[in-house]
Symmetry: C2
Subunit: 550 residues, 2 copies
């Protein structure tokens, strides 16, 4: 089956989907738009584009070539934004190093990715010093610092970032090349085994950027992103490209604010002083923001915030709505670019009643444009979109990772049957809202029934006096597995929450048929804190190690 | 220069940008959303997708194969929407035939495109009967009718559209194929020479669809398109894909209304009864709409309307604003997909004062995402973005036609220097608004100075008592050329507008330095009507023939 092919290769009208194309419109329409770094520095778009040319010139002079991998270890900064563009635009590969991993894992990911050049925030110089012997492929380092100080030690720094940029030409001639050229890589922080490298091409990320604007642009009256917005990430830039927003915001010509390391007081100050209107983060960040804003007496009204990384608890969503935040969940993962779906709510479902709205705002929501989202059974057959039948979410989209770097076995599992397997269990309502009920491995199988750990966690977290909750399955001779709840109490002297209160709370939902009675845990343990992974997910692996044999 | 290529071909994660991918999200999220045809029929998205499968099955059974060209002669209908998808999704080429051309031109375009199958609204059957001898390549015809009647005559109809669909299977297996496969073709209605065929691939149009949503999605508070909108085209679907909105609206899952032949009373009735909120058209259509709404006592408040095809006159824009329409201009052409720019106005420039706002709303505005828009001098050097220096708009974007079908000479001219030449003269303001000052061939060169015919037309149309105006250059022994104004008076017994009044009106702007004093025409002729082309542009070729030697 062949239609009429239009030959477009190597002609003037050919337009490869590569990163440098993202700069056409912002440079014409928003040359004087602002990009702000903490309360320290301000740039215009024109200046940042100039610095991107300088960074490429400096890297090129230092010996970086197309096809090389360049790692960045930094908090969210204008420098990171410059690296987001300059490195891929040279034809090199940007590795965004997750600095929250353990030192051994950091060394592993840098070495496994084959990064030969590192841009390093001076905060991590000591760390790298200790890892030197594990980084045989690293040939050159550049130190980045808010207040440059001379570097000592044994690492072979070729210079300081600002000095190198000052000495370099802004007129780097970024080449055209095949849009399937690799642009980025980073490592997933799975709860089992070694970190796995995912990787993306220019074509994939340009499509992700454009689809991101379309996805947030077609929202109704809630949760939309426009060129009028002021964007600030509170999901780190090393984690899944900060959801691709640094590229999307640039393409839209919107004001951008980069907060450095996430310090609550600084975040709140930037939201207030710079008029931030759009951000994203994990639930823990939202909690921290609400507390810091209350402390600083800053009104968060009008802030739009997408929550991802782990489920948005209903109780927290209600708290955010009460603070005037337009709160909603996003759905995606390291392997998906990440944007797959977002809980935009149809205007008819925006009742203004927070009880009703959180039902919609905490879902995975609606798949983004072009995303082929299915929920399937074990045989890859579609389950009905009736709001009840559950299945695994499998995906296709133009921007999903094609596998794990140098890991053919895991890659094959990921793409079994021609779709990317998310391991998330969901239902889809007749009007198209996707609602995740659990992770496949977190489902608790008790007496032949499936109990959603996520749902029980969510219900427990709504019980008065509860600050945080996690539910895991523990072995049981009679039932196979039984749920165990680990609960953190709210810090208050008058807090009298108890296992009995929580069980009674759950019983109300069991009586209503919301959950099975088998979902009520016999064992409820009160602990100091729920351990989280480096990206803010509940660390169930650790919890299973600690409490799985109880 | 080669980076690290990611091989994506023929793998599960490969995702060609072909039309069938546009249906993933709407089928999940908006299966019951409505698509309405006049006051005659209503469908759900699910039903339309089902009919698209049936249409493909019927065409396939009739012998249509991938690579064939299928022409459609219809007004805007659900049937045309079905053809917009089914024909390209089969790997065949959709020719949208401009039924407003002369019979000879219609025959020429069908024959030149090589259409072998035609879907024909019964209104045009008589026309085709007369052209039969000029259509030797046409093998089969299908008649489309709101109220099917038996066809007589000598044309070889293979059936009636609804009957064929009823008998066909909805489960056509639309194949995957190369995204560079041709999807559509149609003919430009230039004012000189024979119509020229432009053509687009799946990749180009899928990117145009996505960029269209991003472009209108990132608008500030004005002129944006969302999934809450109700869309109705009033630019024909045969003309540059109705700006691609039928595809964009489908991808967004928005309600769609197709009005058939443009009858003012029906348009106004549909706007009112179906709650249409977003449309587009030429200035003439807007005038017609305003009159019809006033007559029917229908409030157009809240309607968003993009004006393209020819410049949006300020006086008309003011009238539309006064009627509560969110009016703004779009910029593009048959060769550009068409979306190139749109006059979205930054919130800071939305003063609420219509005098001030029309200055922004009538411009070409801001280029769409990924569009590489430059204004250049004769040597392809960029002119400054100072709001004063003018140059030709040249473009690159991922969705521009790669040339004219079987016309290498014109194609080469179009793409001279690696950019698509628009022949439009524009200035760009420092804050990035593009403002078209004239067409290259419509600029009047008088005594060594360039006078913009467009600007003089616009100013004359703002003079009280003037309904419409056109300005052309006429030969002059002393000055080379002089402007001649052709003016249509508003129909009113008390209208006392005269040549003297118009000249005095223009003199005010000359005194302010808005125009050169050489721009004031000595000759002002009052005529009955300004001739327009089939797409609503002033027919300057005809005017020059009639009045060029005065």
């Amino acid at each position: 089956m062949v239609g009429r092919l239009i030959q477009t290769a190597k002609s003037a009208y050919q337009f490869p989907l590569i990163f440098k194309q993202l700069w056409h419109t912002p440079l014409v329409q928003a040359p004087n738009q602002e990009i702000v770094y903490r309360d320290l520095r301000r740039f215009t778009y024109r200046q940042i584009r100039d610095r991107i040319g300088r960074l490429a010139s400096a890297l090129s002079k230092a010996g970086v070539e197309a096809g090389d991998t360049v790692g960045v270890l930094d908090w969210d900064s204008h420098r990171f934004l410059e690296a987001f563009f300059a490195i891929p635009m040279m034809g090199a590969v940007l590795q965004t190093v997750n600095v929250r991993l353990s030192p051994e894992q950091i060394a592993y990911t840098i070495d496994h990715a084959g990064s030969s050049t590192l841009l390093v925030n001076d905060e991590f110089v000591g760390l790298l010093e200790g890892l030197k012997s594990q980084l045989p492929k690293v040939k050159r380092l550049i130190v980045m610092s808010d207040a440059p100080v001379p570097q000592t030690g044994s690492l072979s720094f070729i210079g300081e970032y600002e000095n190198l940029l000052s000495a370099a030409s802004p007129d780097y001639d970024f080449p055209d090349f095949d849009e399937n050229t690799q642009a980025t890589t980073f490592y997933t922080t799975g709860t089992t085994g070694l970190p796995k490298g995912v990787y993306y091409s220019h074509r994939q990320l340009v499509l992700h950027t454009l689809a991101g604007l379309a996805m947030f642009g077609i929202a109704g009256t809630q949760g939309r992103f426009s060129r009028d917005d002021v964007y600030m990430p509170i999901t780190p830039m090393f984690h899944v490209h900060a959801w691709g927003f640094p590229w999307s915001a640039t393409l839209a010509g919107a004001k951008q604010v980069y907060p450095g390391r996430y310090e609550p007081a600084m975040l709140v100050k930037l939201i207030k002083d710079e008029g931030v209107t759009f951000t994203h983060g994990v639930p823990t960040i939202l909690r921290m923001l609400l507390e810091a804003a209350a402390k600083a007496n800053v009104d968060l009204k009008g802030l739009k915030m997408v929550i991802g990384g782990s489920a948005l608890p209903k109780a927290l969503a209600k708290q955010a709505l009460a603070a005037g935040i337009d709160i909603f969940a996003g759905y995606g993962m390291s392997e998906t670019g990440p944007l797959a779906a977002v809980s935009h709510v149809r205007s008819k479902d925006l009742s203004g009643d927070s009880e009703g709205e959180v039902e919609f705002r905490t879902r995975a929501g609606m798949a983004g444009p072009l995303v082929d989202l299915r929920i399937v059974d074990d045989d890859m057959k579609d389950v009905p979109h009736d709001g009840k039948s559950s299945g695994e979410i499998v995906l296709r989209a133009p921007w999903l990772t094609q596998g794990y770097f140098n890991n053919p076995e895991s890659s094959e599992q990921l793409w079994a049957g021609g779709y990317l397997h998310t391991s998330d269990i969901a239902v889809v309502s007749p009007d198209g809202y996707v609602h995740i009920t659990d992770r496949m491995k977190d489902v608790i199988k008790t007496g032949g029934e499936w109990v959603s750990s996520l749902q029980i966690e969510d219900l427990i977290s709504q019980c008065a006096g509860v600050s945080d909750a996690a539910v895991i399955g523990v072995k049981d001779d009679k039932w196979g597995e039984r749920p165990l709840a680990l609960v953190v109490k709210q810090a208050s002297e008058t807090n009298d929450v108890s296992a009995t209160i929580i069980k009674d709370h759950l019983k109300v939902f069991a009586d209503k048929g919301v959950i099975s009675k088998y979902g009520i845990p016999e064992q409820i343990l009160f602990i100091e804190t729920i351990p989280k992974t480096s990206v803010g997910k509940i660390n169930k692996k650790l919890l299973r190690e600690r409490y799985g044999n109880m």
